[in-house]
Each structure stands twice: as structure tokens, then as C-alpha cells.
């Protein structure tokens, strides 16, 4: 895989280089036949007017494609809106490259960052338009930032638009240049903009969405009444959506910058979602063809995952990772590969582990808190896990003992954090526990100083990754040998969330610990700054509230929070890496969390006829899979599928 990957990165690198020097491409551009007909009928302006003078030029992965056909993927009926987002792509100012290593311009044509990483200037594309043909300019960015995000019109301003506790200042330099100025250095800002949640600066079209704001429309109450909405916020959400709510895909009238626009919306009663090409999409290939190649996205809604599997087997799904990638589906999909005429593609893990064990270091009971905060206790538990046996049995042999953090081939790899205390050594574990004064009771279970048995629960969501429960059950048996009683506590996911992240009522919990510590990603297992850091929820609250809520963490955690903030402020990749490495050093010293195995790649399926789909892509929300591989460059190899 590695040589292929580097080749891939090479070709994509060229694409990006070309993308930056776009001019001239628009002159001899080509368009989809259906659009050419509409131009001929006078329903659409000519292509050159639609894409402007500075469209982004994309080099397709394998070859220049041909127009036509539909791409089918399966949606679920509830809370699956982010699946659409992942395929259509978060068209923000910048995006990740296909390898998830570099940030490249997207809606912005180019950007400049000041040396002190406080001032970010974005150059927009001249002549670029919204999907309804209205020009996209700096005024749209100003509307999004000033009237929506910074005004807190719908929600408090997200921390991503703040530095040093102050909101970013946004100014319009000219019609095609905007400048974001922060009070303090903020090197991670571009990565924040590249993640799906960073799309806000270019999410809403001013000419359409401003009609739902009282500031622009004094008669908004009439609209609210006419639409039977609760208030103008509700109306705004219903018509213009937000980054990750279903109604974003519920209004065919909303102008977007996406490659495909909604024709049949994702609404409560829908049985399918259909999206058609955006005639004003602002990317072309190297031959000057306007993207996307594929005419429409077609997503039937199945309520049940098993019906999705059946759809795949029946050859009615062209591309899918989400929902299908459970290991249990793999045999039946592999068996029916020919019937469904699809191939497997790898959804590569970015690093880290699929199950990290978080003892609650901020436990409500002081006795447990004292014990969990004892480093030797945690080391003993780690040494008490026979990782090879767990991998052999619960993971069917696929895995490699691992603690935490990025893999060896990643620049952020931290050897000690990843590989310390991996060997199964029950004798040493028993010695450590004996030394802590934890005597064994009559049944072989050790006793706490108060005389209570050493028995605690590990919370887990059984439906998320079913193998986590199997792994925990094996670990429970293994820990019994060192006198530790652990009960697996499977919880419905809402209950899990409430008990752990909101309530801090848990003894311990497990969670997926995929991590590569690149900018934009939250390193929740080495510094507690996120509600998935279930080893110190009150510390998270302390950090996020600026010290007014939660509990003040110990010095080592505070130091890591400081270093992490500093890393987020740093632009220079090496300097940032060095800072993250210091965070990892401290995390390795403290050894707060531990795991079993490296996280494995999952898989997806892609039709054998679909061209330009890479055989492997990183699997991550921050990326988000598969959008940066540019589905708008995928196309059908055979004429039958292009109809």
C-alpha cells in the first residue's frame, strides 16, 4: 500500500499545484450535455459566466472522466444527515488534501497567514456563484461571520472563532478578499476551517438567508406565521439549516456552493434523497470539464442496516462505508462481490486504538479516586491484560498490541506512549498490587482499604463496536487472576452519554481512541479537553469554562492544557509537533489511559465501474471521509452506467 500511496500523493500534489494557478482554464471549458442543452435553450448563462475566471483546476486521480449517471448510496431514516455531508463535502474556505496531511485552498482561491499566526487573509474566486447563479463575494463571508456566527444569532460563537478569549475580527478588504484577525496567535485556525464544523464562514448565502433574520427583514414575523414555524430561529434553521442538522438537506431552494444540490430533500417522511449537479460548481478538471462528472446523487432511505446490506448485495449501492463497515457484514459482502459488482476499499485508521480504557480519575467516591489516581495501579491493570489472547479471540487475530496515539509511520508517533507496559506480566502486576496494600479477600478478590471488594464497572455501548464487549469480557477474566473484579456494564448510548460525559457517575468507560494529533483533531486521550475524555470530565469542564466550572486539574494536566493551547496557536508544523510531543511525554509519564490493540482499518464498497476512487482513504470525521478524495471527480467507466 505504501508505494501506491506515495504515487497517489504525488499526482494529487500536482493537482494542487495546478489548482493554485488556475487562470485561463475557463476559456475552453466544457460542460455536461444536459447543461449545454439548457444553455442552448437560453435557460442558463454560458459556462464561462457560471464558473468565473478563477475556477479551481483539479487533476483527477486516474484520468479525466466523462459525464453522466448517478451515484447511489444508502441513507438511514434518522440522524443520517452527516452521511450526505460526507459525500457532498463540507465546502469550506479550505479543505484537507486526499492524504489528510496538508491543508489546501477550497472555496478560497488562496490564503496568506501572517508570521505571528494572528492574521488570515482569504482570496476568493472572481466570478464564483451560488447554485442559483447569484455571485458569491466577500459580503457573503461578512454576513456569515458578523450577522450569524459572531452575533450569536442561533448559537453561542464556537470556540474555533476565538483566541485569547476574544472573538475574531473579520473585515472585508475588497469584494474578493476577507481578513480574519485574532487577538492572539492561532496556528490551528486553518485546520479548524478544514473540518466539517468549520464551514460557517461560507455556509449561508446572504441574498437568501438574510430574509429570515430580523435585522434584514423587519417583517420576518409574517414569514414565520406563513410557515407555521415557532419563531424566526426555527424558520432560519428549517430553511437554511446548520452544518450538521437534517434540515440542511431539507430545502431545495437554499443556494449552496456544493457540487450537487438537493432536488428531493431529506425530510421526516422522505423515502429517498436525490441531489442533482450544481450548474454553477466552481471546479473544473485538467481538460477544462466542469465538475462534477456524475449527474446525480441518489440515496434511498432504509430504516434498517440489514436492508442496506441487501441493497449492497443486490448491486443497488455504488459507494458506501458508513453503516456497512461492521466486521460482521464483511463475509456476506465478500461472498456477493460479483453479484453486486463492487470492490472493497480500505477506510484506513488515522492511528490510535479502537478501544481505550478510561478509569475515572475524578471519581465521586474519594476512595476509588485515590486508587485510580495511583499510577502503579494503572500499570498493574495494563500488565494484567493478555493482549495477544484478546486480539486472537475477540479481534480474530487482526490487531497489534498498542496503548495510545499515532502509528509508527506517522510523524507524530510517540514510542513510549504507544508501547509502554504492553507485555502480559501477571506476576509483576500482582507484585505492584500487593505493594499498594491491596490484600486479597477470601474469594481471591482484593480489598480496598475500607474493606470493600475491589470491584468496579466499565461502561460500554454494545451497539457501537460490538467487539468492545467481547474484549472487555476477556479482560475481566484476566484481571480476575490479579485479584481485580471488573464488571462489563453495557449501556444504551444516550444513557452512556448521560452517565459519563454529562454526569461523571462512572467508575470507568471505554471509547474509540483513534488519534493522529494533527491540527483540527482533538487529542482527547492525552489531555482532557473534550467530553470524550472520560478519565477527567470535571477537568474538561474546568478547561472549557475557563476555570469557572468543574474542578481544577492537577499540575501535570494543567501543564498539558497550557502546552496544548500553545500548540494550537503555533503555525510552524515542526514547532507544533514538538509541543504535542511534550504533551505526549507528560501523558506517557502519567500513564492515565491504556488500551489493547491498534485500531484496524475498516472497509467500504465501491462499484467496480466507478473510476477515480482511491483504493484506500483515511477514515475520520475531521477529514471527513470520503469528501477530500473529491467524489465530484468520480465517474462511470461504462456508457450504460452513464445514462
Amino acid at each position: 500500500m505504501t508505494p501506491r500511496r506515495s504515487l497517489l500523493s504525488l499526482s494529487m500534489g500536482c493537482a494542487l499545484a495546478l489548482g493554485l494557478v488556475a487562470p485561463g482554464a475557463a476559456q475552453n471549458a466544457h460542460e455536461a450535455p444536459a447543461l449545454a442543452q439548457r444553455v442552448a435553450r437560453g435557460e442558463l448563462p454560458p459556462l464561462a459566466e457560471r464558473i468565473g475566471s478563477q475556477p479551481e483546476v483539479i487533476t483527477p486521480l486516474d484520468r479525466v472522466g466523462e459525464y453522466g449517471g448517478r451515484l447511489r448510496f444508502g441513507l438511514r431514516g434518522s440522524s443520517d444527515h452527516n452521511h450526505i455531508l460526507r459525500v457532498v463535502g463540507p465546502q469550506g474556505l479550505v479543505r484537507w488534501d486526499p492524504q489528510y496531511t496538508r491543508i489546501v485552498p477550497n472555496v478560497a482561491r488562496a490564503y496568506d497567514v501572517s508570521d505571528d499566526a494572528r492574521v488570515f487573509t482569504f482570496h476568493l474566486r472572481r466570478g464564483m456563484r451560488w447554485s442559483d447563479g447569484t455571485p458569491f463575494t466577500a459580503d457573503d463571508v461578512m454576513f456569515n461571520m458578523e450577522d450569524v456566527v459572531l452575533a450569536g444569532a442561533l448559537a453561542p460563537t464556537p470556540p474555533r472563532y476565538k483566541a485569547g478569549g476574544q472573538n475574531v475580527q473579520v473585515e472585508k478588504v475588497d469584494d474578493f478578499t476577507v481578513r480574519f484577525t485574532f487577538a492572539e496567535p492561532y496556528g490551528d485556525f486553518l485546520a479548524e476551517l478544514a473540518s466539517p464544523l468549520g464551514q460557517h464562514p461560507v455556509l449561508y448565502a446572504k441574498h437568501y438567508c438574510s430574509q429570515f433574520l430580523p435585522k434584514y427583514n423587519p417583517n420576518v414575523a409574517d414569514l414565520v406565521r406563513a410557515a407555521n414555524a415557532a419563531d424566526w430561529q426555527n424558520l432560519f434553521m428549517a430553511r437554511c439549516g446548520d452544518i450538521e442538522i437534517p434540515s440542511r438537506w431539507g430545502n431545495p431552494d437554499r443556494p449552496t456552493l456544493d457540487p450537487w444540490v438537493v432536488r428531493e430533500p431529506y425530510v421526516g417522511g422522505a423515502t429517498r434523497v436525490v441531489m442533482t449537479r450544481n450548474p454553477y460548481f466552481w471546479q473544473v478538471d485538467t481538460a477544462g470539464n466542469q465538475l462534477p462528472y456524475i449527474d446525480e446523487l441518489f440515496a434511498p432511505i432504509a430504516q434498517d442496516v440489514q436492508s442496506l446490506v441487501l441493497e449492497a448485495i443486490g448491486g443497488r449501492i455504488d459507494f458506501q462505508i458508513r453503516h456497512l463497515d461492521a466486521p460482521s457484514n464483511r463475509p456476506v459482502l465478500a461472498q456477493n462481490r460479483d453479484r453486486g459488482s463492487f470492490r472493497f476499499i480500505e477506510a484506513a485508521s488515522v492511528g490510535g486504538t479502537n478501544m481505550v480504557i478510561n478509569l475515572n480519575l475524578t471519581h465521586r467516591d474519594p476512595e476509588w479516586r485515590r486508587l485510580f489516581n495511583t499510577r502503579d495501579f494503572r500499570v498493574a491493570l495494563s500488565l494484567g491484560i493478555d493482549r495477544k489472547a484478546v486480539i486472537e479471540t475477540a479481534l480474530l487475530g487482526e490487531g497489534e498490541p498498542w496503548q495510545n496515539g499515532p502509528f509508527e509511520n506517522h510523524p507524530n508517533f510517540h514510542r513510549r506512549l504507544a508501547t509502554q507496559y504492553l507485555d502480559y506480566n501477571p506476576a509483576e502486576a500482582n507484585r505492584l498490587l500487593d505493594a499498594l496494600g491491596l490484600r486479597r479477600g477470601p474469594d481471591g478478590i482484593r480489598l480496598l482499604p475500607s474493606g470493600k471488594p475491589l470491584r468496579f464497572k466499565v461502561d460500554v455501548i454494545p451497539t457501537l463496536q460490538p467487539e468492545q464487549v467481547d474484549m472487555l469480557q476477556l479482560i475481566s477474566q484476566q484481571w480476575r487472576r490479579i485479584g481485580v473484579a471488573m464488571d462489563v456494564n453495557p449501556l444504551e448510548r444516550t444513557f452512556f452519554y448521560q452517565r459519563t460525559s454529562e454526569g461523571n457517575e462512572h467508575d470507568a468507560a471505554v471509547w474509540g481512541g483513534q488519534a493522529s494529533w494533527v491540527p483540527g483533531e482533538i487529542p482527547q486521550q492525552i489531555v482532557p479537553v473534550h467530553h470524550d475524555s472520560r478519565w477527567g470530565i470535571p477537568w474538561v469542564q474546568w478547561y472549557r469554562s475557563g476555570g469557572t466550572q468543574g474542578e481544577e486539574p492537577p499540575a501535570s494536566v494543567r501543564e498539558r492544557m497550557r502546552l496544548y493551547d500553545q500548540a494550537r496557536a503555533t503555525v510552524d508544523a515542526d514547532a507544533r509537533r514538538a509541543l504535542m510531543s511534550r504533551v505526549a511525554d507528560i501523558a506517557a509519564d502519567e500513564f492515565e489511559v491504556f488500551s489493547v490493540s491498534k485500531s484496524l482499518p475498516t472497509y467500504g464498497i465501491a462499484s467496480t465501474q466507478l473510476v477515480n476512487v482511491p483504493p484506500s482513504m483515511p477514515s475520520s470525521w475531521y477529514y471527513p471521509t470520503p469528501a477530500p478524495t473529491l467524489p465530484q471527480t468520480w465517474f462511470w467507466a461504462t456508457p450504460q452506467r452513464r445514462r
Binding site: M237, E244, G268, R493
Partner: protein, 328 residues
């Protein structure tokens, strides 16, 4: 007589519905967390990230941080004015969502009811009159298999066979081209072409149980003295059967009409889920799972009202059919 009975029953439904609305709202609220917790959890399950600040803001806007009674009052006072509120998940008025799917649910429930009767009535009578004949054994065997197999399993098996051996899609109620099209003859025919599969799947177990009930009831009646009397008076066997014992044995058919009404919504939720039917059931289930309170609450309120109406209708029908019923 009958009129006072009906008026009294109608009046009783009012306090009953109020109680039901309170209980159902409490039940929807009973699981831990609220819509936003479950929203965050669902997204996390797919590896997506949620903005916590946004969730908090929404929680306040939706009033989810308010005490239970305040939330209930907000909801029920709206309902009394015909406003069912906004679905959190879809940002749409609840009333739009509900009626959109009710039509097809009615269609499916009626189709299933007719199918069930068409099968259970003759087969039930046959297997009672020809007890222990080959035909009775066959009907009984199928009846027990139908009773014992969960509907959704039959659905899954049929879907698998359809996909793997015939390359056909048996899920849904419409072909692709008619899914979002306006109503037309073509669409109606298309619906009928798809409807028979879920109707059979949903109808098997209820027909099976009705066959068994019909058979047992009829067997009780067949040897009663009035049958012997009627036969002695020279009535033809068919007229005799239809006029007396069958009329009494019909009782269960009529009393189950009351259940058929709530079936419009809740009937076979899981089967509809598996078959991806665009009926009300899956939407209700989704709303409950997502704790989308106002949507789920409206469905449950509707469900209860339909049950009450259905029971009323079947009581009246029973009173008409069965002379033994008294209006007490």
C-alpha cells in the same frame, strides 16, 4: 338506549385522553437524557463530532432544561389550539409530518384487515365444520407456522430471496419513478403491485390467529341444542351454519376492529422498518428513539384517540350483531 350508551362513552373519552396524554408525555420523557443527548450520541456512533455549545443553546431554545410539568403544559396547551409543535429533528411542524404518512398507513391497514378476513373467515369455518379432515390439518399447520413466525423475519427472508434469486427489490411501496410523483392511475397501480407483499407478510399471523379463534368458537356452537333444533326443522346445512353459529362466532372479528384502528400507526412497526415502508410506524419509532418529544407525543396521542374510537365502533357493532350484549 343505544344513543345514551354512545353519548356516555364519548364523554368518558375526554378525561381518559387527558390522562393518556400526561402518561404518554411522561413515558417519552422517562428514558435518561433528552433529544439533544440522543442526537449527540447518535452522531458519535457514526464517528461524527458535535458542537457542545450549540447543543446547550438548543436545549434552552427547546425548553428541554425546564421542569417536566412546564414542558407538558407548553405542549398540551399548543395541542388544544391545534398546534402540535415542531419536530426537533426535522425542524418541521409535527402536523405536516404526521399526515404525510397516515394515508399509506390507512391503505396498508385496510388491505391487511381485508386480507385477514378473506382468509380467516372461510378457512376458519371450513376447519371447524370439517374437523380433523386433511384440509383442517393443512390449515392448522399453516396457522401455527404463521402464528409462530415473527412477521419481520418473514419479511427479511422474502427480501433475501427476492434479492438473491430474483434480483428484485421487495421493499418499499412504490417503484422508483413513482416515489415522489403526484397521484395518478399509474401510481395507484404501482402501489397495488407493491402492496400485496407487506399485506401478506403482515396478514399471516393475524389470519392464523383468527382462524384458530373462529374454529374454536364455531366448534363450541356447532353442537349446541339450537343447532340440532334448527337442523331438525329442516334448514339447509349452509343456511343454518351462516345464520346461527357463524353469527355468534363472528364476535372476535368484530371486537378486533377496535384494535385495527391503532394498528394504523403502531401496526407492525418492525416489519415496516425492515421493509422500509413509508408508513407512520417507522417514523414513530424513530421519534421515540431520538426522543423527538413533540413528534412522538403527537403520534401517541393520535394512537390513543384512535384506540378509543375503535373500541367505541366495535362496541356499537357488537351490540348490533350480538343480541346478548346489554347497554350497561
Amino acid at each position: 338506549m343505544l344513543l345514551t350508551f354512545i353519548v356516555r362513552r364519548v364523554l368518558w373519552t375526554v378525561p381518559f385522553l387527558i390522562a393518556v396524554s400526561l402518561v404518554s408525555f411522561a413515558l417519552i420523557q422517562a428514558p435518561p437524557g433528552d433529544y439533544l443527548t440522543s442526537f449527540a450520541a447518535t452522531l458519535a456512533a457514526s464517528g461524527d463530532e458535535v458542537d457542545q455549545g450549540r447543543l446547550e443553546a438548543l436545549r434552552q431554545r427547546y425548553g428541554l432544561d425546564q421542569p417536566f410539568l412546564v414542558q407538558y403544559w407548553r405542549w398540551i396547551s399548543g395541542v388544544l389550539q391545534g398546534d402540535f409543535g415542531i419536530s426537533f429533528e426535522w425542524q418541521q411542524p409535527v402536523s405536516n409530518l404526521i399526515w404525510e404518512r397516515m394515508g399509506l398507513s390507512v391503505c396498508l391497514a385496510l388491505g391487511t384487515l381485508l386480507f385477514t378476513w378473506a382468509v380467516a373467515f372461510p378457512v376458519g369455518i371450513f376447519s371447524a365444520v370439517r374437523k380433523y379432515s386433511i384440509g383442517d390439518y393443512i390449515a392448522t399447520t399453516f396457522g401455527f407456522i404463521g402464528l409462530a413466525t415473527p412477521n419481520f423475519l418473514i419479511a427479511l427472508v422474502l427480501m433475501y430471496i427476492g434479492v438473491v434469486y430474483f434480483g428484485a427489490d421487495v421493499s418499499g411501496l412504490f417503484s422508483e419513478e413513482y416515489q415522489n410523483a403526484a397521484w395518478s392511475w399509474g401510481k395507484l397501480l404501482d402501489l397495488l403491485a407493491h402492496l400485496w407483499i407487506p399485506v401478506i407478510i403482515l396478514g399471516t399471523s393475524s389470519s392464523a390467529s383468527l382462524i384458530r379463534i373462529m374454529r374454536a368458537n364455531l366448534l363450541d356452537e356447532l353442537h349446541k341444542p339450537y343447532v340440532v333444533t334448527a337442523r331438525a326443522k329442516g334448514l339447509s346445512e349452509f343456511t343454518l351454519l351462516m345464520r346461527y353459529p357463524v353469527r355468534l362466532a363472528l364476535n372476535p372479528f368484530v371486537s378486533t376492529i377496535g384494535w385495527a384502528f391503532p394498528q394504523l400507526i403502531s401496526g407492525a412497526v418492525i416489519t415496516a422498518f425492515v421493509l422500509s415502508l413509508p408508513t407512520a410506524g417507522p417514523l414513530l419509532l424513530q421519534a421515540l428513539l431520538a426522543q423527538d418529544m413533540y413528534l412522538a407525543g403527537a403520534f401517541i396521542l393520535l394512537l390513543c384517540s384512535l384506540t378509543v374510537i375503535g373500541m367505541l365502533v366495535s362496541d356499537i357493532l357488537l351490540a348490533l350483531i350480538d343480541p346478548r350484549v346489554r347497554y350497561q
